[in-house]
């Protein structure tokens, strides 16, 4: 472990703190349970997690142990965020827009986000059509063949 990578490793103490915080939260929550059957397991695990977090913090403090995380390099963080946002947005919009519309919008946004090739006229036609077919096909497969009651939109009515 070189001094340089040690200096860059600011994430480890943060992660240790986050996990310790989670453990504390769990311990606090277990105090509200009425039944011993309910708290014995989460409490034990939370204590173990707390101990492990402390060990991780100590490892970092004394400079041994290794980091095996990778740094993001040469990749588009922006596209990552758009993808995650589109998926979360799609999930949250489902009850309002209905599954079909929310799914189509999320699909379109992600399609544009994942597009690295130039938009030729051919692609401008084929990709949206293919997307609509895929979304519609899955929609029909699930709602009709598998009888899944997919959410209808509060605002749209379908």
């Amino acid at each position: 472990m070189t001094a340089e990578s040690q200096a860059r490793d600011t994430a480890t103490p943060f992660m240790a703190a986050a996990f310790a915080g989670l453990a504390t939260l769990v311990l606090w929550d277990t105090t509200s349970y009425t039944d011993a059957d309910s708290f014995v397991f989460p409490r034990t695990i939370a204590i173990v997690l707390m101990a492990l977090s402390i060990v991780l913090a100590l490892q970092w403090l004394f400079g041994f142990g290794k980091t095996n995380g990778q740094a993001a390099s040469g990749a588009s963080t922006f596209r990552r965020i758009v993808l995650a946002a589109a998926m979360l947005g799609g999930a949250l919009a489902m009850p309002y827009l209905g599954f079909l519309l929310a799914g189509l919008i999320a699909f379109a946004v992600i399609l544009v986000t994942a597009m690295y090739d130039p938009w030729t006229p051919y692609r401008l036609v084929v990709y949206p059509v293919a997307g609509a077919v895929i979304v519609g096909g899955f929609y029909l497969l699930f709602s009709r063949a598998l009888q899944v009651p997919l959410p209808t939109g509060l605002w749209t009515g379908f």
């Binding site: 994430a11 992660m15 996990f19 769990v26 929550d29 349970y33 009425t34 039944d35 059957d37 309910s38 014995v40 397991f41 989460p42 695990i45 939370a46 173990v48 997690l49 492990l52 977090s53 991780l56 142990g65 980091t67 095996n68 995380g69 993001a72 040469g74 990749a75 588009s76 963080t77 990552r80 993808l83 995650a84 589109a86 998926m87 979360l88 799609g90 999930a91 489902m94 599954f99 799914g103 999320a106 699909f107 992600i110 399609l111 986000t113 994942a114 597009m115 690295y116 990709y127 293919a130 997307g131 895929i134 899955f138 929609y139 699930f142 063949a145 598998l146 009888q147 009651p149 959410p151």
Partner: protein
């Protein structure tokens, strides 16, 4: 002979058609993350009311076995288990696909699934009534130790950072307790939120933790999803067969492990795959290759999970206690049809059972051509489809899949959020598999522990309950072996060979 008669009944054109259609539909269902075997079978129940019980069983069994196999596709090609049973398939399947051996991985998975399915069906046919006793010999404490055995795999999967793997495992265990507790009915870790009362749904959590990080990284660069070495190598069937023959003991052991875990109600294909994987790794001569694309890993997981199909039918048909969730649906359908399950089913209504088992054999054999063909098509689709369509399609599949498990939009949001957390954790060296193991095994470990403790305290025999029962002792022995065995062997061998720095 009666056996021939039942075989011929199973081979009636209608039943063959059902088996074929069932396997095809099942394989497709299984390959879509979020569409589980349970769901596919449940949809079919009303259709089967108009059929003979044996035909209904063949159709449902074929779908079930196909779906368990189909789970391997998404596991290999997208690092996302299509069904929970395929979790252990991701460990080596995806690395193989990444390096350009996806076609070989698909073929190996198909061969292993067929072998596992046949072994499971064979046990069901020959030894079902006596083997049902296994389900009864397993008490709460044995389930507890079995879960601990599964969790011990965290150490093997730790990729060089045991501490972080253990922390991930704890996170998974805590996630498993969110919501209404299954046995004590307390409401835990919801922090007043209605959304969390239903708990973290396992399948949608799996999709999130495994698939979302892949998508996030896929969208960030223009590089191809999977490496393609040469143009087309076909099915690589010869290579796959050679590897299967080479590792025949692994296949047999894993199939038997799968059958036995399948017999245990509530354990299921995911645990079977994990236990078989763990055993394959322990007894392999090069365990360091596991997790980096070892064909043996896929073989272990896939043969074990398909063996649970036959295994799971044993307690279902003999005891009336469903071995796995799809078995529960099938059992319900049989009850409504007026078929009384029990040991007598094998004697008094033998024609139903044996026709069905032959049908299961048939479906499993049909899985070979069907699986190879669909698998090849799936592989070609994944490597040729442009990224701009692949990413949104998979993303859309995760949305619809995670919704459909419980018809819940909250599960979709939880899936996406867990995926993002998983991606961040992955950046800092916390991999997804320990979290998933904790999540899957948490409730089994907890329930087993609490029940065993209650019984032990009531009978003033806590030590005897936890450490005094023969099956428990055997499982504990396996845990110790898989945890310390490899380092023990290395210690004895001395420093002849230095461990690889992968």
């Amino acid at each position: 002979m009666a056996a021939i008669e039942h075989l011929l009944a199973a081979l009636s054109p209608f039943n063959v058609l059902l088996a074929l259609g069932g396997v095809i539909a099942g394989t497709i269902v299984g390959s879509l993350p979020g569409l589980t075997a349970t769901m596919a079978v449940a949809v079919l129940v009303p259709i089967t009311f108009s059929m003979e019980p044996a035909s209904a069983l063949i159709l449902m069994g074929a779908i079930y076995t196909g779906a368990i196999y189909g789970g391997a596709y998404a596991a290999i090609l997208l690092n996302t288990p299509g069904t929970p049973s395929a979790i252990a398939t991701t460990f080596d399947g995806y690395p193989m696909a990444k390096r350009g051996d996806g076609d070989l991985a698909m073929t190996i998975a198909c061969l292993a699934s067929v072998v596992g399915g046949l072994v499971g069906a064979l046990f069901l046919m020959v030894l079902a009534p006596p083997l049902a006793g296994v389900a009864l010999a397993f008490g709460p404490v044995e389930y507890f130790w079995l879960a601990v055995f599964g969790l011990s795999l965290i150490a093997s999967l730790s990729e060089g950072n045991l501490l972080k793997a253990l922390m991930g495992g704890c996170l998974g265990l805590l996630l498993s307790t969110v919501g209404v507790a299954e046995v004590s009915a307390d409401i835990r870790l919801t922090f007043g939120s209605q959304v969390l009362i239903g708990g973290i749904e396992t399948v949608s959590a799996l999709i999130g933790l495994y698939c979302i990080p892949v998508l996030i990284d896929l969208v960030a660069t223009p590089a191809r999803h999977l490496k393609v070495t040469q143009e087309s190598k076909g099915l690589r069937l010869r290579e796959g067969l050679a590897l299967s023959w080479k590792h025949k003991f692994n296949l047999m052991r894993s199939s038997i492990v799968g059958t036995f875990v399948g017999i245990l109600p509530g354990a299921g294909g995911s645990i079977a795959g994990l236990v078989a994987y763990s055993e394959a790794m322990r007894s392999s001569r090069n365990p360091e290759k596991f997790g980096k694309g070892a064909p043996e890993g896929i073989q272990a997981s896939e043969s074990a999970n398909n063996a649970t199909v036959g295994g799971g039918f044993i307690p279902t048909l003999v005891l009336g206690i469903p071995g796995t969730p799809p078995d529960a649906v099938i059992l319900g359908a049989l009850l409504v049809q007026g078929v009384k399950v029990g040991p007598n089913l094998f004697t008094s209504q033998g024609s139903i059972v044996y026709t069905f088992i032959w049908g299961l054999f048939l479906a499993t054999i049909l899985m070979l051509p069907v699986g190879l063909l669909i698998g090849r098509y799936a592989y070609r689709t994944i490597i040729t489809i442009p990224k701009a369509l692949l990413v949104p399609t998979v993303a859309f599949m995760t949305l619809i899949g995670s919704y459909s498990i419980r018809n819940s939009t909250s599960d979709v949001a939880i899936m996406v959020i867990l995926g993002c957390i998983g991606w961040v954790l992955g950046r800092f060296g916390f991999s997804a598999s320990p979290i998933v193991l904790g999540l899957i095994l948490g409730s089994i470990a907890e329930q087993g522990f609490v029940q065993a403790w209650t019984i032990g305290a009531a009978t003033h025999n806590l030590g005897g309950i936890f450490f005094g029962r023969p099956i428990s002792i055997a499982i504990i022995l396996f845990i110790v072996l898989s945890l310390f065995g490899p380092s023990l062997v290395r210690f004895i061998r001395g420093k002849k060979e230095r461990p690889n720095d992968g």
